[in-house]
Symmetry: C2
Subunit: 96 residues, 2 copies
C-alpha cells in the first residue's frame, strides 16, 4: 500500500536542505539559503525543526567577525532521508 511519509521531510524546503546536507560534509546557513532560494526566516524555522528531530546538527561559530551557522546531517537524518525516498518511490510506480 502507500506507506506513511515522514511529515518532517515532506516539506519542500526541509527536503531541499536534507538533500543538500546528504551530499556534503557540512554547509552553512548562507550557503543553504543561496542554494534553496529560501528566505532567511523560513530557513531558520525549518532548520530548527530538523534540529529538533535530530536529523541535523547546528554549530554556531564565527568566520572572522561574522557569525556563521554550520549544519550537518546526522546518521538518524541520513536514515530518515533514505527511508523517505524509498517510501515516495512507491507512490511513483503506480503503487496499486
Amino acid at each position: 500500500m502507500f506507506p506513511k511519509l515522514d511529515p518532517l521531510l515532506h516539506s519542500e524546503l526541509r527536503l531541499a536542505v536534507m538533500s543538500i546536507l546528504a551530499g556534503v560534509d557540512e554547509a552553512d546557513f548562507t550557503y543553504l539559503k543561496a542554494q534553496t532560494g529560501a528566505t532567511s526566516g523560513n530557513l531558520s524555522v525549518q532548520i530548527d525543526k530538523l534540529t529538533g528531530a535530530g536529523y541535523i546538527t547546528v554549530e554556531k561559530g564565527f568566520k572572522g567577525k561574522m557569525p556563521r551557522t554550520t549544519c550537518r546531517i546526522t546518521p538518524l537524518g541520513q536514515k530518515a532521508f533514505s527511508e523517505y525516498v524509498e517510501a515516495l518511490k512507491t507512490y511513483f510506480t503506480s503503487g496499486v
Copy 2:
C-alpha cells in the same frame, strides 16, 4: 537547482490518489478510500481540490440504487503528475 514542487501534488493523500488514477482507467470513491486508508471526509476534500485543478474528473452516478462517484485522471493531471515525479527526483539525487 531545486525546482518548485506543485503544491497540489505535494500532499500525501492527493499524491496517493493521483498515483492510483495514473495506473488505472477509473476508480470510484470507495475504492480510493480503501486503497489509501483515508477517511471519507479527507478524501472528499482532496478529490475536490484535484477536480478544481483539472487534474481529475468526477462522475456521479448510481450502481444499482447506491450512489457512486467515479474518478479519472485527465491529460493535464497525467502531465502534472509526471512533472512532479521528475521534479522530486532532483531532490533525491543529492541535487547540489
